[in-house]
C-alpha cells in the first residue's frame, strides 16, 4: 500500500495555518476595532503587539478548566469540539488556489452547507448542557437564528450553482473567468453575506451571546480551553465565510499579475476586515427584527434571485 505523503502534508499544513491565522485574527480584530475607535489597541507585547495572541493563548490555556457541577458533563465537554470539527471540515472544500485544497468533490457546495448546518448543534448543546438559564436562552436564539439563515444561505448559492452548472468549487471559480458572479448574482451576494454574518453569530447578529442581555449567552459557563475553542471557532468561521464569499462571488484566486494564492488571500482579507468593520459600526437588532428580516426579506429575495436567474438562463438558452 502506497501512502501519498503530500495528501497528508497538505491538509496538515492547511489546518495549522488556519489555526494560527484564526488566532492572529484576534489580534487583528482588536487592532482594527481600536483603529476605528480612535485608540491604539494591543501594542505592547512583541512588535505591534503581535505576540499579544500568544500571551492570550497562554492565559487561556493555563486557566482553570472548570465544569459547573450542574452541567451535563459529557455534552458540555463535546459541544465546543463540534464547532471546531464542523468548521475545520468545511474548510476541506475550500480551494485556496489551484491545487491547494484538502479535497475536491463534485458536491463541494453541499458539503459546506451540511457542515454549517451541523455547526448549529454546538451552541444548542453548549447552552442546554450548561444548566444555566442565560445559556439556554442563548442556545434557543442560536437555534432559531442558524436554522433560519441556513435556508437562505443555501438558496442564495443556488444562483451561483445554476450559472455554473456544478457544485464543484473549481468549476465555480473557473466559471467566473469572464465575469465575477458578484455582478449577475448581486442579490445572491447580499443574502449570502448577511446569512454568513448570522451563521457566525458575530455583531450585529450576535444575539446568542449578547453579553449585555445574556451574560455571555450559550458559552456563559465556559472557561479556559473550552471557551478558547468557541472563541477560535468564531474566527475560523469568519475566515470560512470570507473565503467562500471570495470563491463564490469574487472569482476566487483569479486575478492578474500576482500568483493565484496571493489574490485569494487579498480578497479574503478584505472581507475579513469587512466583518470587523461591521462589528465596529453596527448595533445589534432586536431579536424579532432579526427573524423578520430573515423570513420576510431574505427568503423572498433569495427565491426571487433564483427565479430570475433561472428564467434568464432558460431564456438565454444555455
Amino acid at each position: 500500500m502506497t501512502v501519498n505523503l503530500s495528501s497528508f502534508i497538505m491538509p496538515l499544513a492547511i489546518l495549522l495555518i488556519l489555526l494560527i491565522v484564526s488566532a492572529w485574527l484576534i489580534w487583528l480584530e482588536r487592532r482594527l476595532l481600536a483603529l476605528w475607535q480612535d485608540r491604539y489597541g494591543p501594542n505592547r507585547v512583541g512588535p505591534f503587539g503581535l505576540a499579544q495572541v500568544i500571551a492570550d493563548m497562554i492565559k487561556m490555556l493555563t486557566k482553570e478548566d472548570w465544569v459547573p457541577p450542574f452541567a451535563d458533563r459529557a455534552v458540555f465537554v463535546i459541544s465546543p469540539a463540534i464547532t471546531m470539527v464542523t468548521i475545520l471540515s468545511a474548510f476541506a472544500i475550500v480551494s485556496f488556489a489551484p491545487g491547494i485544497s484538502v479535497a475536491s468533490l463534485n458536491i463541494d457546495l453541499l458539503f459546506f452547507i451540511s457542515m454549517i448546518a451541523l455547526n448549529a448543534y454546538s451552541p444548542v448543546l453548549a447552552g442546554w448542557s450548561s444548566g444555566n438559564r442565560y445559556s439556554l436562552l442563548g442556545a434557543l436564539r442560536a437555534t432559531a437564528q442558524m436554522v433560519s439563515y441556513e435556508v437562505f444561505m443555501g438558496l442564495s448559492l443556488m444562483g451561483v450553482v445554476a450559472l455554473t452548472g456544478s457544485f464543484n468549487i473549481l468549476d465555480i471559480v473557473e466559471a467566473q473567468r469572464p465575469l465575477w458572479f458578484c455582478i449577475p448574482q448581486f442579490f445572491g451576494l447580499v443574502v449570502f453575506v448577511i446569512a454568513g454574518i448570522a451563521l457566525t453569530h458575530r455583531i450585529p447578529f450576535d444575539l446568542p451571546e449578547a453579553e449585555n442581555e445574556l451574560v455571555a449567552g450559550y458559552h456563559t459557563e465556559y472557561s479556559g480551553l473550552k471557551f478558547g475553542m468557541f472563541f477560535v471557532g468564531e474566527y475560523l468561521n469568519v475566515i470560512l465565510i470570507s473565503s467562500l464569499i471570495t470563491t463564490f462571488f469574487f472569482g476566487g484566486w483569479l486575478g492578474p499579475v500576482l500568483p493565484p494564492l496571493a489574490w485569494f488571500i487579498i480578497k479574503t482579507f478584505v472581507f475579513i476586515c469587512g466583518f470587523i468593520l461591521l462589528r465596529a459600526s453596527l448595533p445589534r437588532p432586536r431579536y424579532d427584527r432579526l427573524m423578520a428580516l430573515g423570513w420576510k426579506i431574505m427568503l423572498p429575495l433569495a427565491i426571487l434571485n433564483l427565479v430570475v436567474t433561472g428564467s434568464i438562463i432558460l431564456a438565454s438558452g444555455y
Binding site: L35, W36, D38, R39, L277
Partner: protein
Amino acid sequence: MLSILKTLWLILLHTFRRRETVLYPEEKRRIPPRWRGRIILSRSPDGKERCVACYLCSVACPVSCISLQAAEDEYGRRYPEFFRINFSRCIFCGFCEEACPTLAIQLTTDFEMSEYVRMNLVYEKEDLLIDGPGKYPDYDFYRISGLAVKGKGKGEGDEELPPVDVRTLMP
C-alpha cells in the same frame, strides 16, 4: 439600508483620525488637582498630625478598607495609634475625604502604586503621613474645636470666649 452603509463609511473614516488615548507610560497626561488617587494623611500648619481618629473615614468607606485605633496624648490631643488603609480593596471613591472633619485624609494625584504582592498595598500610618498640610494650608481643627490641647488652653481658640469663672457673682 443606506444609513447602514453610511455608518460603515463614517466608521471607516476613523482610520485617519487622531488617537484619543495616549501611550502611557511614555507619555503622561496632566492630572487635575482634585484627582482621586493615593490617599495621604496631612499635618496641620503647626506640623502636628491632623487626624484625630474620629473613625468617620472608616465608617464612610464603602469597602471597609480603612481601620484605625484612637489614642490620646497626655494633653488631650487625639491621634490614631495605628491607621491602616488596604489599597488592594480601596476603590478611590473619596468618601473618606468627604467624611473627614479635620481635612486630614486627602486623595492625591498619584495613582502609580501597583505591586506584585498584595501585602505591599497595605499602607500603615508611617506610609500615609506626609509632612505638609496638603490641599488646605491654613486649617487647624484644634483652633476651632473648643478642646484644650498642648499649646492651646480653654478659651484660646478662634471665636472663643475666655473660660467661665464660676465663682464670680457679676451678672
